[in-house]
Symmetry: C2
Subunit: 734 residues, 2 copies
């Protein structure tokens, strides 16, 4: 087991205890990975762990605001009818952390300076990122820097930086320049365009301010405006220094010029307010920001730390006896809580959260399939409900989307990737064919309702979503004369290493399930819905591919024509998505991500243990887990069938995916939505927790070296706490 | 039948007799269509029917040189492993037709001037494009223009323009500016780049010259250089006028300034030579061009006309009693002969020839599947042989291409689209999966050999190609335990409205056929080839999808799960490639282009008439023919089974595709390769001609209103001529 952990620990340059992750000297080549890992956020905005100072080394500058995006013109080699016109980009916005330091006119560049010591730390308990370092400025002359920053969780339009320098054996004219900079761009812009343009900027003694707006676009997407203000307070050995103001287009500066001596200490507190037109009218952004800065809470940092403390009280998971697993789960929970706080039903959870640009748009089926259970258990139920409301609000767009593809009568196809409800992905095999996502959206309504016991959402809103999705399935299935059954042709299942297949078992299953559940809801809540006659026929006569010999469900038609190999037989070919051509991947039996097993996980109560076991034993050896969303499902099912070593292997893979940079892509940002999967594998897997309204059940199955596992969870009766030790467990109200 | 022809004749603005196509007033909105139709070429270079004069109306400027291309950086939405790095573009090169006309400083713009008459004509017999028009310059003052041009078929580095103006009630300073212009670009450049850069330009009294080269590229594709020279001879009422020379970057001008009176006639003869580094060293281009211009043949135009006369003697097809069919077939033969003359084994036949940019790269499987029979019958056998040699020379690249996709042991996968043997298409479902193209390349070797009786090609070169393709099939098939047979998974057949299917009947059939034919050749020509043991097993145990009830071959696994509709049931939805989303097309039964029927056409001797009839009757009603390569195959098979009305419908559709702009895309260029299909439907369809070395067989079946059909064709015994009248026919040696 240790060998395995060792194997997985690829990014050993980072150290950790049970709450903190740090780097004790500067790994410039890993800087982009560190930037991702050390991202901060507060649900409203967030940023990567970029330096405040000038830095010419490898870096992906990234500062993002929830709900502020740009419709970048789609880039595609070959157009297909039905493709969306744009790709929604989460956009890099005003850089508000910038602090430049110059001594005698020479600007400090952390990319080229000589560190004699360097330390940076992300504290998961407090949500504070800090750095201390010592730099040899010239031979025998030293500069000490210490900085810390946070995005306030308590007052989520605020952020703050404390920045302090001390001179050792060094003197001269020091200039500290604190600035806001709207001249930023996205690395992944399709056509190398800038997304922002100037509104205005100002700087006086009290504040600096930059207001920018997104460029005009031809897609009727609103032009957002963002106003960022800063207040800077700078002292030299405790004495206040006056700023020199400067503005340039889309930029504002406070320069502090200080004649400094050996031993002098200069400290700067930069308080930032971020406002935008999702929350305020454009003409009010400035006054709102100004007032907020004037009335900034006196104890921003303490309040922020207390807010985190409170969040952890409910959301923390304690694992005794496995430090690696402990920091893994906390790291994941930390980032989930930073990304989405459920207070705004217009927002959702992007695959990279506030930690990178990749994947553009915010909402994938990840939210429904993986994230909702975490928020149900860890936060007020209103958080999960807001995620459901998000889809309800986008129902008209989902209907439009289905119409574009030729469906009618109010059938809805939710987009694969979206920001405002419009589809913005353009691979035909995904956009048009990965329709199982529609099922996950229906499933989330069911999941929410059975967990909370709250039927109001489905009764008031959710049933409309269910009916629209059922109408889609009704039109999407077709009768096969050959099979004398309903079939679903031309789909891509959750396993994206198969494209355009017929009768994907998972898709067929969730389609039938949706129809059943919708009919139940219509009946139960006495809704008048016409033209549902065909639904029961589809439920009764759907075709499901099955292997009579092995007694396993078949992922799709023709699966048994493949050569059935074990992943161990292609060790040197992995990851196949980097080493094999796409056609070879498609022809192979290898599975990117749980597919039949995803269905068995969702509908666990439909299958007996033997069935689960047979299917797990058939599919697990063929699964390469090249999606971050895969190992958690396998971990949970492995727990269920008692394969605890396999479960633990999968757990480490999911929980330390980014800390260990397992897929060699952490530099692009963190796998935020798959972090919810990690949480699932602890709570639904090792603890075997099942909450159904007032009914709570646990079937723990811990890795043998775990001394105990404890965590809190919400139920309709309030927050409870479970502690598991060996096979005993105890659940308490708190 | 007349109703049908009427229905198809959408572009009635063009008039024709049996040899000429003309427009008798200017249809500016159709100008790009006319430009395509009135393209000229001579196998070495060619150009669209652009005006010599300034023209600000709708136009696709296009002047192309065989074998001169640029590797444009690939543009693709989502990258897949194995995608090529570039897309080979046929590039718009130096504009050599340019003649600007100004009177008293005002430049003539054919896009805005007032025509009192306008006539332009393409003469298929002579290969000359001419235009006469009368323009009201100012009220009551007129300008007459007549021009004609050709790309010399006799001396194929030459082109010539005769340009003449006459003033009526108009006088003033006339400036005729004849120029060469290398500042041109491609409309379809992926990243809006220019593809050309300056080498040098010069102009003196004798000549103007522009030498340009393609820009550097990161793909190790050579930078081509092109040198274009012009000689201009201008007279006013018969008196020679001296030019004024001018050069600008990548441009050269001869200006002729003439004080002109009412009634004056000014005429200009512009002789052009085009040379390039496929034929000459870069440092010799200038001297070659200069010498060629000095020694230009005295009777360029007469020689050109004679050369066309000679070509028509052999290639013409005469249809009595159907003018529409007559001009259709001549138009197609004319463009085929203009595009490729078989003198250069480095060249091939692009889908648009010299008539447009679309589809980039030059060589598709169209060459082997449709064009070779035309060239076999209409030209010296060396022409078809050169097309085979082209693929032989590219065998090493085809092996490399297969290696990139994971194949080994000398297996070859010929590219879907190529210029130099490297793949340059990037839709995975085509690039990686449309592997049937490999079979067509093997088939062409067989086709050439049986037609000519010449076994030298296959014995000396072709067998290597066959072995390499067979190695590919050997590795690409796999054994299905479920079916107890070999299967081919994950392919796209000729019908591109199905993607990533299993066991495409056509692909499986041509794979097995290739293996058989290769084994025969190895044996017959006593070649030492090892590791062929598995081939016979594949031949014996290949799986072919088949419907036992209908007794038809099934296009692929699962085809019968579809709802089997007739194209008449979706009339208002056609063309489906414009009206349906891609997934809807894929799920439907509708067929873009002959697939099973393509196989039955290729291997006609393998199937009895009843089998052909059953399959035709099953597939024809589902075929939408949205590929230009489809109707010809249906036409031929319809002839075979005696459905002559259907055959004629399909024939008109293929033969007048561009003249009638049937697919509403003629403005992008002509469908050159499908023109060979038209020829096939006359010769193999209506005439039922079969040539096997010295054996010649015909089974005519003419549309009832055709009085007669006659044409010449090559055999190993020389050129023969067939004349068919009713059901009688006569074959003579000539």
């Amino acid at each position: 087991m240790l060998g395995l952990r060792k194997m997985l620990e690829m990014e050993t340059y980072l150290k950790h205890d049970d709450w903190k992750i740090w780097e004790d000297h500067f790994h410039v080549d890993k800087n982009e990975v560190t930037e991702s890992i050390m991202s901060l956020g507060n649900g409203k905005f967030g940023l990567r762990g970029n330096f405040e100072e000038s830095f010419t080394g490898p870096s992906l500058p990234g500062s993002y605001i929830g709900g502020i995006w740009f419709p970048d013109k789609t880039r595609v080699g070959w157009w297909k009818n039905g493709y969306p016109d744009y790709f929604a980009k989460v956009i890099n916005s005003v850089n508000w952390i910038g602090i430049n330091l110059a001594i005698n006119g020479k600007i400090l560049d952390l990319g080229t300076c000589r560190f004699t010591s360097f330390y940076r730390e992300l504290n998961l308990k407090t949500g504070i990122l800090s750095k201390t370092c010592k730099i040899e400025w010239e031979e025998g002359k030293y500069l000490h820097i210490s900085s810390r920053r946070f995005c306030s969780v308590d007052s989520p339009h605020f952020a703050q930086i404390h920045y302090e320098i001390r001179l050792e054996n060094l003197s001269g004219k020091v200039r500290l320049s604190s600035y806001l900079n709207g001249v930023v761009r996205n690395k992944d812009s399709n056509h190398d365009e800038h997304f922002w343009e100037e509104v205005f900027q100002m700087a006086d003694h009290e504040m600096g301010y930059v207001q920018v707006k997104t460029k005009p676009n031809p897609f009727e997407v609103p032009q957002y405006q963002v106003g960022v203000g800063m207040k800077n307070s700078c002292t030299q050995n405790g004495t206040l220094i006056e700023p020199l103001e400067e503005i340039k287009s889309m930029r504002a500066f406070h320069h502090f010029d200080v004649p400094a001596q050996d031993g002098d200490s200069i400290s700067l507190t930069k308080t930032v307010v971020i406002s935008h037109t999702l929350d305020h009218k454009a003409e009010n952004l400035y006054s709102y920001t100004e007032n907020a800065l004037i009335q900034a809470p006196a104890h921003l940092e303490e309040d922020h730390i207390q807010a985190w403390e409170k969040a952890w009280e409910e959301a923390d998971i304690q694992i005794e006896g496995d430090l690696s697993a402990q920091i893994g789960i906390r790291f994941n929970i930390f980032h989930l809580l930073q990304t989405y706080n459920g207070k705004d039903a217009r927002l959702n959870i992007g695959p990279k959260g506030f930690t990178g640009e990749k994947y553009g748009g915010v909402t994938y089926w990840d939210t429904e399939a993986y994230c909702i259970p975490f928020y149900l258990s860890s936060c007020d139920f209103s958080v999960a409900k807001n995620l459901l409301m998000y889809r309800y609000r986008q129902l008209p767009k989902a209907i439009e989307n289905a119409e574009k593809l030729g469906f009618s009568d109010g059938a809805a196809l939710y987009p694969m990737v979206t920001m405002n409800g419009e589809e913005c992905h353009n691979e035909w095999e995904i956009t048009f064919e990965e329709i199982h996502r529609n099922g996950a959206i229906a499933y989330a309504i069911y999941d929410y309702t059975r967990y909370t016991g709250d039927e109001n959402y489905v009764k008031e809103f959710g049933w409309e979503v269910l009916v629209a999705i059922s109408r889609f399935w009704e039109q999407r299935v077709q009768w096969s004369d050959a099979k004398k059954a309903y079939v679903i042709l031309g789909v891509t299942g959750p396993n994206e290493y198969e494209n355009n297949v017929n009768n994907n078992w998972y898709t067929n299953y969730i389609a039938v399930w949706t129809l059943k559940y919708t009919l139940e809801c219509i009946k139960k809540y006495k809704k008048q819905v016409d033209k549902t006659e065909k639904w029961q026929a589809i439920i009764d006569q759907m075709y499901f591919p099955y292997d009579q010999n092995r007694m396993v469900f078949l992922q799709q038609d023709g699966f048994l024509d493949k050569e059935l190999l074990n992943v161990d037989q292609i060790k040197e070919h992995r990851p196949i998505n980097q080493k094999w051509s796409w056609d070879r991947i498609l022809r192979s039996c290898f599975i990117k991500q749980a597919d039949v097993l995803q269905g068995i996980y969702f509908f666990e109560e439909d299958f007996d243990l033997e069935t689960v076991k047979r299917n797990f034993d058939f599919y697990e050896p063929m699964t390469v887990h090249e999606s971050s969303l895969s190992p958690c499902v396998h971990s949970i099912l492995a727990c269920r069938i008692g394969q605890i070593d396999k479960a633990y292997e999968m757990y480490l893979r999911t929980s330390r995916l980014d800390l260990d940079n397992y897929n060699q892509d952490t530099e692009d940002g963190l796998h935020i939505t798959s972090m919810a999967g990690t949480w699932l594998s602890v709570v639904k897997g090792f603890a075997g927790l099942k909450v159904r309204g007032t009914q709570v059940e646990a079937k723990p199955n811990l890795p043998s070296h775990w001394k105990s596992l404890s965590f809190s969870f919400r139920t309709v009766e309030g927050v409870k706490r479970i502690r598991i030790e060996n096979e005993r467990f105890e659940i308490k109200n708190i």
